[in-house]
Amino acid sequence: MSVVTELRRTARSARGEKGTPSRRSLRNGDGKAAALFLLPWFLGLGLITIGPMVASGYLSFTDYDLLQPPTWIGLENYTRLFEDPRLANSLRVTFTYVFTAVPLQLAAALGLALMLDRGLKGLPFYRSVLYLPSLLGGSVAVAILWRQVFGIDGLVNQFLALFGIQGKGWVSDPETALWTLVLLHIWTFGAPMIIFLAGLRQIPEMYYEAAAIDGAGAVRRFRSITLPLLTPIIFFNLVLQVIGAFQSFTQAFVVSGGTGGPADSTMFYTLYLYQKGFTAFDMGYASAMAWLLVLIVAAMTLINFFASKFWVFYDD
């Protein structure tokens, strides 16, 4: 079960099973053993995750610079959020990034998975080569490479020069800087591609055989068999990629030299949060920003789950 389907199932069974005492609760449970096995996880959940979440909720209502004790200022951080033009800009940049990079990357992943499917010779080779960028894409080294490749005298412009075209500094132009990051994200389509490939393999061959016998062409088979049966996996990829893309940081940080520039054009939300929290040490404001991020990500996920009712096809 993927994380997403598992969550769906858990929610559904929690709704359905209420009231009926399960066989489990009558039997002697393994409570003690479970407590032992889960001890590290419970400690982590309390001390590293939930504790800090509560603390961050509190800090978001305070003015705190790490040196002086926090002072309660009520909703001021939150009202500041709405008046901060740089924050509005960072939201615009981040949404633009998420809404272009994620669909384009998934489309590339799906397209390539379809091309590689069904016993294509050399599949393991292609799969490995296309997957490699998604392992390296998150690294600082590749971000540095990207900065050079799209620089004023970088690789791209050297190529363009071969054709007599005078390129520009793609990363230093506010018009194009963000798109180099979108391109970097698309470049890492290998991981979702592998998930699609595995999903395609799960579709029983007999469906296609039956459809072919009935005279369905390739397009029809794709539309009526492949696509519907793949929708749960597209949905899974979409949910996780959206959540991940909202949190992108490293590439924008390195490509812009930590500034989010030029002219704040690559100022991802998380980059702005980092600057507020760990450069300006405006911890209260950063905490409020973090909660706004959680709200946005949660809302996007809920919208995704809600919208899935209209396009995701579940076999079960």
Binding site: A14, F37, G51, S139, L145, F246, F278
Partner: protein, 307 residues
């Protein structure tokens, strides 16, 4: 195709029977256009592979070129192999680059230990033990996978600075020892569920407790899942930047990615060569993990991603 099947007009009821005996239906087109089609497909795929790998190979080749050539030469064949960038880059920062690699390695080792032990323990409980609130805790675990780290990093920073842990590896390792990388719990729960329950039931009848079942049955049978966990932990921790940037401020504690980034600050654009060389050095461990762990990587993503 040489074989010709004589078959009745298919109806819904005969379809499933047919599916068993009829070989895959692909014998409509004549073989020649098929071959041309597949040749075209391979040509397209190879072109795409070259395009995808071009920047990486160019990075490797350029790391052997003098800096001024990097900006003039798009070719993938180096005119000469010059190791100067490597020796200059290795010593360009405050400490030799080996120190940063070592720091990264320490954090990776700690994270490996944590994820392998703590996550597999939690996974055993979720996959095999009956306890109250299991569904609830399982859902909490799933949701924690999707929680943005930013909402906890500020108070974590406050907490760790109160503990005097800033500029140590503890903020980066201790959470892993407490199974906060819940993705791997999930991965192992998936795997454990596939191990036949009869095995642990037999062991129970023989008087084994949960500790022994976990150690002697589940773990040895889960080597593929443990390998997947190890390789992903290795790559993700090695590539991690955000938390290392925040918790490691003194240069002697820098990891490879954090050190690489200061290259950009301190040396400006003039030393792309040495910077490229050290980029390659920092990518080599990930590349090796990819080379030798491919099977587990592919299986890992596929099994946690589908169904």
């Amino acid at each position: 195709m040489t074989e010709v099947h004589v078959r009745p007009t298919p109806t819904a009821t005969t379809l499933s029977a047919l599916a068993d005996e009829v070989p895959p239906v692909q014998h409509r087109r004549s073989p020649w256009p098929d071959r041309r089609r597949s040749a075209l497909k391979h040509a397209g795929l190879i072109a795409l592979c070259v395009l995808m790998l071009y920047p990486l190979i160019w990075l490797l080749v350029s790391s052997f070129k003098p800096t001024e050539l990097i900006f003039r030469d798009v070719s993938l064949i180096p005119s000469e192999i010059d190791m100067t960038n490597y020796s200059v880059g290795w010593n360009a920062l405050q400490y030799p680059f080996g120190r940063y690699l070592m720091n990264s390695a320490i954090i990776v080792l700690g994270s490996l230990l944590g994820n392998l032990v703590a996550c597999s323990m939690a996974a055993y409980a979720f996959a095999r033990l009956e306890f109250r609130g299991r569904k609830l805790w399982f859902a909490v675990m799933l949701m924690s996978i999707m929680l943005p780290i930013h909402v906890i990093i500020v108070p974590q920073y406050v907490l760790f600075s109160k503990l005097d842990w800033i500029n140590t590896f503890l903020p980066l390792i201790v959470p892993k020892l407490l199974a906060t990388d819940a993705f791997f719990i999930f991965l192992m729960v998936q795997f454990f569920r596939g191990i036949p329950k009869e095995l642990d039931e037999a062991a129970r009848l023989d008087g084994c407790g949960h500790g022994r079942i976990y150690l002697r049955i589940m773990l040895p049978l889960s080597l593929p899942a443990l390998a997947t966990t190890a390789i992903f932990t290795f790559i993700w921790t090695w590539n991690d930047f955000f938390s290392q940037l925040i918790f490691l401020i003194r240069p002697d504690m820098y990891t490879a990615p954090v050190a690489l980034r200061t290259f950009m600050d301190s040396t400006g654009a003039s030393s792309w060569g040495p910077m490229f060389a050290m980029s390659i050095v920092s990518l080599i461990p990930v590349f090796l993990a990819f080379l030798f762990g491919q099977k587990y990587l592919v299986k890992g993503i596929a099994t946690t991603g589908i169904k």
